[in-house]
């Protein structure tokens, strides 16, 4: 699902420039998550909900560098990663609703979106918990002589977990085809990075394992894509793992439970001025690549798609309670994969 498909699930209206695709991809995530917030407040989505509003350039930019054969491991803040990887809005929304038509049959919810057909190995709700999986996916691909790359998303908070250290060392030691995509949004829940990391230059820290490592403006989708392509090419050509520090910011609270008492409103406002979507629209407008009509059209089209997804999710059936114990173990014929 390279190119367009990787950006959004539905065909776009007429030919679009690549930056147009990036814009569309980020807008899809933004609108989808804003709708999720409404639905959560309405009690239609439950459990924990972590949106990545403000971080869309990371998901969309990095995903550009990946092809169908590549794999993705994500976190509990993964709607954007999932949509950018090409999961259709309706199966994701159905999952948020806990319906059997959801991408995890409603068993996972917001934090556990899966789509093995797209090598999207899920939302993981244990901070750092996806890193070892990514190492293993990369190890398998390398042992089988495949050229696939595994991109693993994780946050600045995960950087402090022991698993991070073990996994980067292992990836570097074994020269595994893994992209460490560190979404540094400066906070781990209420803990600012300077109160969690003795050395806050994460790219520098990662370089100490002897791997290629650098930081990029995570609010600039084009810059993220360029960096990600550079990293993925390098990895695919046997250059070993890379660490990408994506400097970004979440505009909203950590989760719907979070009153966000720990951040200075002015700080949030400053970052909102660097909204990745506005930023790209400005650039494209300057270059006459997009008009406000185009933007409105994109939004309208995406909102229609979201409406459809919501309607479908509402209408979708629940998994029969009798099936509760299904998939604790594989079924004879073998499912998925």
């Amino acid at each position: 699902m390279s190119g367009p498909q990787a950006v959004a699930a539905t065909p776009t209206r007429g030919p679009m420039t690549h930056r147009g695709e990036l814009l569309r991809g980020m807008t899809a995530i933004r609108l989808f998550e804003e709708r999720c917030v409404e639905l959560y407040s309405a009690g239609l989505i439950r459990g924990f909900l972590h949106v990545a509003i403000g971080e869309e350039a990371v998901a969309v930019g990095v995903m550009q560098a990946l092809t169908e054969e590549d794999a993705v491991v994500s976190t509990y803040r993964e709607h954007g990663h999932a949509l950018a990887r090409g999961l259709p809005m309706d199966v994701v929304m159905a999952e948020m609703y806990g319906k059997v038509t959801g991408c995890s049959r409603g068993r996972g919810g917001s934090m556990h979106l899966f789509d093995v057909s797209r090598r999207f190995y899920g939302g993981n709700a244990i901070v750092g918990g996806g890193l070892p999986l990514a190492i293993g996916l990369g190890l398998a691909d390398k042992m089988r002589g495949r050229t696939a790359v595994t991109a693993c998303f994780f946050g600045d908070g995960a950087f402090a977990e022991g698993e991070f250290h073990e996994c980067v060392n292992l990836a570097a030691l074994w020269q595994l085809p893994v992209l460490f995509a560190c979404e540094n949004n400066l906070y781990a829940m209420g803990t600012a990075i300077a109160r969690a990391q003795a050395e806050t230059d994460l790219a520098l820290r990662a370089a100490s394992y002897g791997i290629a490592s650098w930081a990029v403006d995570g609010m600039d989708a084009v810059a993220v894509e360029t960096s990600a392509r550079h990293a993925v090419d390098r990895i695919r050509n046997g250059g070993g793992p890379c660490f990408l520090e994506l400097r970004t910011y979440r505009f909203r609270a950590h989760s719907m439970y979070d009153p966000d008492r720990y951040r200075d409103k002015a700080e949030i406002a400053r970052w909102r001025e660097r909204d990745p979507i506005d930023l790209l629209v400005r650039q494209m407008t300057e270059d006459g690549e997009v008009t406000s009509d185009d933007v409105d059209a994109i939004n309208a089209e995406l909102n229609t798609e979201i409406d459809k997804a919501v309607a479908a999710a509402e209408a979708a059936p629940l998994e029969p309670v009798a099936d509760l114990a299904r998939f604790v173990h594989s079924e004879p014929e073998g499912v998925g994969r």
């Binding site: 409603g106 068993r107 996972g108 781990a188 209420g190 969690a196 998994e319 114990a325 604790v328």
Partner: protein
């Protein structure tokens, strides 16, 4: 004291506030006490238990940590060894797996392995349990599993009084105590004696008297169990309800005394059925009350599946009052 009835001035409070008061009191009264964990300070605690304590006691004693469960739990052990009285908060039991080596191989082991030299007066608090649609990785009920380990004590407050009183007693204990707070209890409101203070952490308590059977439970399953007892009463079945309070050690005496009188028992435990705390209780009753039993023992536990997100599936996976009532009817037969 947990069953006192003397009239006294009371206050309206919640389980969350009672826990916070207990922590505040401990910080006030003993300068060796400090609270350490992820987001206990600036954020106010992931479940707002420690809200306001950073402002009151400062960042040294209400100490935010990085996401490094093994390191900060082990640091709590080391600090306890060196004479402090740390309260380590692990946000939820789900993340405690990352610190399990420190808990089992150090906290639970050092005193015995050192021939009695190294004491670890540490309290580890964590939220446990399912029921809020948080899905498989955030819905574990492992307090009964922890109760397998010699060298630690495991307690689970189910009432405002215990939420207010268990921490202080745990801190006074010279050895490590794990305190499990069920996430569904934080908003539980009610009245508490104004002078509520430390309570014992080794006895089980009969929360409701009855003669027909004994319902044994603890923590987050107590409200469901008491609700079931109410339903049964309406049918003329008088269930005695035992709140274990301490999961390790277990108060065999209170359990067996009740069962010897009722001759029947149902254990309610949110843990997965196989190898749960409920198994141990059934085993002990069989060992100690074999000739007193009039019918097979039963348990109402969680289905042996990772807890799913969808509400109808999660409800089906967890112990519910209906299931307790049904099991009780069966044993009373």
């Amino acid at each position: 004291m947990t069953t006192t009835t003397t009239p006294a001035r009371t206050v309206e409070t919640t389980y969350r506030e009672a826990m916070r008061e207990a922590i505040r009191e401990a910080l006030r009264e003993d300068d060796r006490v400090f609270l350490m964990g992820e987001d206990v300070g600036k954020y106010g605690g992931c479940f707002a238990v420690s809200l306001g304590l950073l402002e009151e006691f400062g960042p040294e004693r209400v100490r935010d940590t990085p996401l490094s469960e093994s390191a900060f739990v082990g640091a709590g052990i080391g600090a306890a060894i060196a004479g402090m009285r740390p309260i380590v908060e692990i946000m939820t039991v789900n993340f405690s797996l990352l610190a399990l080596d420190q808990i089992i191989n150090n906290a639970a082991t050092l005193l015995h392995m050192s021939g009695g030299q190294v004491q670890v007066p540490l309290v580890i608090r964590m939220t446990t349990g399912a029921g809020r649609q948080l899905a498989a990785q955030h819905s574990h009920s492992l307090e009964g599993w922890y109760a397998h380990i010699p060298g630690i004590k495991v307690v689970a407050p189910a009432t405002l009084e215990d939420a207010r009183g268990m921490l202080g007693t745990a801190l006074a204990d010279p050895d490590p105590v794990l305190l499990f707070e069920h996430g569904s209890l934080y908003n539980m409101g009610g009245t508490l004696r104004e002078d509520a203070g430390p309570v014992d952490i080794h006895r089980a308590v009969v929360r409701r008297q009855g003669r027909d059977l004994t319902l044994i439970s603890y923590g987050g399953s107590m409200p469901k169990t008491l609700e079931a007892a109410g339903t049964l009463a309406a049918e003329g079945i008088e269930a005695e309800v035992v709140d274990l309070r301490s999961l390790r050690p277990l108060d065999d005496e209170t359990i067996t005394t009740s069962v010897r009188r009722t001759h029947r028992a149902v254990v309610v435990d949110e843990g997965w059925r196989s190898g749960s705390l409920s198994s141990e209780i059934l085993a002990r009753i069989t060992e100690q009350c074999f000739y007193d039993l009039d019918s097979p023992l039963e348990r109402v536990c969680s289905a042996e599946v990772p807890i799913p997100y969808a509400k109808h599936l999660e409800d089906a996976a967890l112990p519910q009052p209906e299931a307790i009532v049904t099991a009780a009817r069966r044993v009373v037969g």
